[in-house]
Symmetry: C2
Subunit: 513 residues, 2 copies
């Protein structure tokens, strides 16, 4: 394989490793390849894995981690720390865990803590209920593949309270983070018909789990553009356009909607969702509602509406539509990314298909029981009359109100920088501002063999230590440039980050004007 | 779809749901199918998911769970409890967790426990080291996709101590149980060449994760029979036979070896492993060493030898062979199945392929950090001079010596029953006895539409409450009948189970003689 080929391969989403680092890597890899005859090489490896990209953990992040090590080793830089605004990881950015949640899970692990007088009784009661639902009374036993039954019941009750419509606990599948559920149910869609691929409609910009999974599963990606000029709104006419174009080369099967939006921060209105549902019904599409940010709504006048609630409200024939909705403990006010908890609700799914799905996850045995215990706390939090209630509500509101302030701070700052514009962050944990890049910067990027937004992001990282993800990792209208940043650094850190960002951007524009 | 077709579909590994239950299900499913037009049905679902089977959680287990509910509801049965000897789930069968391990993980979750004077200092020291390795000092942050760096270092040191050969921490990939690692690395193998599938050699009988994954990934399964007459030994001549037969229809790419063996309980000798390595080298096969039972060796004269150690001992050219070795916290003396911890060591894997693997797991974000913390305890247990040492060693030895006794008890009992024969359980957690079924029993099974060993297993379940898995779920020589039972029920429960088993078998033979 040529160096150029390898360079293309190693570059993700149009981005690439910094030039020096890459040259070293290419030399050492070529050496290794010629030395031995291996069974699995680039020529014999799964080609879909070569195609797939996941920018949130791509070359920029690899470089950011390398810079952290350089700083530790004493290398001099124009900054002292790396700020990782690339990933929705609240605890990594200083958010504290919710006390109640950690108490319940610790009690499950170490039941001797039941005697600890400092742990409140409601936490103990939750832990006891979970352990009663575990085989042998231990979290160390496998649960059923779709999860511990009592927790599935509580998830269903949570959804009923949220929506005002019944939820069947047997339709709740616990999973190790929403990603596992999304990937697992998407897998059911893989069936080529006479060489034609099933199509999956995803927003552009999108969360790259979707493009990565579509590539890995060899499905056809159908991008529909979100409308930047209406705060990343979802236009039904654009769905139509994308669908009509794609049906020539694929058979569209799935419509993915992320609400609140990642990376856009948009929150869909009730009317908008109804329009989407009608479109999906008309085109016979299976709906994926990625609703992991349902607790993260900040802007005045915005409210989270679940797809489940709206298909039920709309009545026949929409209330018979196939829908999978996903939730996670990694986002919201919990931010427990590492503990890997989540659920999928499968609505109106063919019972035979559901039976097959259950069979398919049985070979994976079960999602982490600890992650399941975390979900129990999310769907069954302390009630007003319980001893943990006040502290729980304080902690929850402190996180959510601080996030709301940070969302505003980010938007205000970016909109005050010449050559940047940023839509309102109505929800979720991200902003996706547009940057106007001078012609000379675009040319400099070209000379460096990088996409312009990737070039910009690498310059930002090397000069300020701020790690964001270029828009090309999520998709954007051709000729426009964006980046995604989280709003997660704690307020002081975020303030510093935004000041440095403004300074960098101003200098960057001056340099290339 | 016809009822007969659905019956075939719903039956797993030749087995099926009990007849009445199935009829009800078929009726309700047919009704549902005719009522609505769905996007995803049996006709449009992933066909590989239809093909895949995982007997360890198949129809027998579903029926066992249903029987448990019937018992709870007061239905009268010839037994009071169901004994689930179908799955290697130690805690479910009454094994107690290792104290040190639970302490460390609880400390990680609830660092306020650092002040607890009853928790020993070495547990606190381990927890501190783990938290220092977590972003933001919280297990709630995402780890790097291959795991928390300090734990990867400790895994590598554990392997070095075990084998006496260097291990590179960058080759250690933590995963949510060994299954995730096995499935992830197997995925890299998927590449059809001109319509010909890659072949994966697996033992027969095998652990059905392999057949399920092979079906899901549309690979070609190449079964090599283990030799029952030499205590389930692995004959190189049989590898040759299977390989030669398969290379006509596939291109063999992977050789899977499970040692200690599941479901056979065999432990491979050093010489035997060397022969396997030479065979894999000669045929250019990527080796998968499923070594999750490395702590579970009971029989005198038997010892666990890792594939890694032996390729290194054998020197060139074998020490350059591609090998993936898998370990788990679900087995051994820990039995922490629900917590989902494990690792893969990738040895001599092409750096480009390894980079692709790391990319492919990045979209899944990270394995549960709690499962990773459990693995830290497994690879870095209390040392002689540390305060937890004595208790830890006592607990560990109590589990392992009790398992050794139970292994003997199971073998002795089955060998004393006329019409049964059982090889020595040298290691792992299972026995795989052969049962001689009278002709009339085979005919009765046929009349019931079941494979003879499935018929036997259902009769056993309905009459005694004992749930085992028929040999057809693992594979067996045509015309022979087996079952897999775990040795995990606690001694008293196991004794009762074996007595009931003997009685059932004797009556069953009498009935059909």
């Amino acid at each position: 394989m040529s160096s150029a080929g390898l360079r293309r391969l190693l570059s993700a989403g149009g981005s690439q490793l910094s030039s020096n680092l890459l040259s070293v890597r290419i030399r050492s890899l070529s050496l290794a390849t010629t030395m031995e005859q291996r069974v699995v090489t680039l020529e014999s490896v799964n080609p879909n894995v070569i195609k797939m990209e996941y920018a949130v953990r791509g070359p920029l992040v690899i470089r950011a981690t390398a810079i952290e090590k350089e700083l530790e080793a004493g290398v001099s830089k124009p900054f002292k720390t790396v700020t990782k605004a690339n990933i929705g990881d609240a605890h990594a950015m200083g958010q504290k865990p919710i006390t109640f949640l950690r108490q319940v899970v610790s009690l499950c692990l170490m039941p001797s803590l039941m005697d600890d007088p400092f742990i409140p009784s409601d936490a103990k009661e939750r832990a006891r209920a979970i352990l009663n639902g575990c085989k042998g009374g231990s979290l160390g036993s496998y649960s059923d593949s779709p999860g511990i039954e009592i927790i599935r019941h509580h998830v269903a009750e949570y959804i009923e309270r949220r929506d005002g419509f019944p939820s069947n606990w047997e339709n709740i599948i616990l999973c190790a983070g929403a990603s596992e559920g999304i990937r697992g149910i998407m897998k059911m869609m893989i069936k080529h018909e006479n060489g034609i691929k099933p199509g999956v409609m995803i927003p552009i910009p999108q969360y790259p789990l979707y493009s990565a999974t579509i590539a890995e599963y060899d499905l056809h990606q159908i991008g529909y553009y979100l409308n930047e000029s209406t705060n990343w709104g979802l236009d039904i006419s654009e769905l139509e356009r994308a669908y009509n174009e794609a049906k020539e080369v694929s058979y569209p099967k799935v419509l993915v909607v992320i609400n609140p939006g990642n990376p856009t921060g948009n929150v869909l209105s009730k009317e908008n969702i109804k329009g989407i549902i009608k479109f999906a019904y008309e085109k016979k599409l299976f709906l994926f509602a990625d609703e992991v940010y349902q607790d993260n709504v900040y802007a005045k006048g915005c409210k989270f509406h679940s797809f489940k609630k709206l298909i039920m409200e709309m009545g026949a024939p929409y209330n018979k539509m196939e829908l999978a909705s996903f939730m996670s403990c990694s986002k919201g006010y919990m931010g427990e990314c590492g503990l890997r908890g989540g659920y999928a609700e499968l609505i109106n799914v063919d019972p035979q298909v559901k039976a097959l799905y259950l069979k398919s996850i049985s070979a994976k045995l079960c999602p982490t029981t600890l992650g399941q215990a975390v979900m129990e706390c999310v769907v069954n939090p302390p009630q007003e009359e319980e001893p943990s209630y006040n502290q729980f509500m304080e902690e929850k509101h402190a996180v959510l109100s601080s996030l709301a302030k940070r969302a505003e701070m980010v938007v205000e700052t970016f909109n005050s920088v010449p050559g940047m514009s940023c839509n309102i962050v109505q929800g979720a944990m991200y902003a996706f501002p547009q940057i106007m890049l001078p012609k000379k910067a675009v040319e400099a990027a070209k000379a460096a063999g990088q996409a312009p937004d990737v070039f910009y992001a690498f310059q930002l990282l090397e000069n300020t230590g701020i790690c964001i993800i270029p828009g090309s990792g999520f998709g954007q209208q051709p000729g426009t440039y964006h980046f995604r940043t989280t709003i997660l650094p704690q307020p002081e850190m975020l303030k510093t980050m935004l000041e440095k960002f403004r300074e960098f951007h101003t200098n960057f524009i001056k340099l290339y004007e």
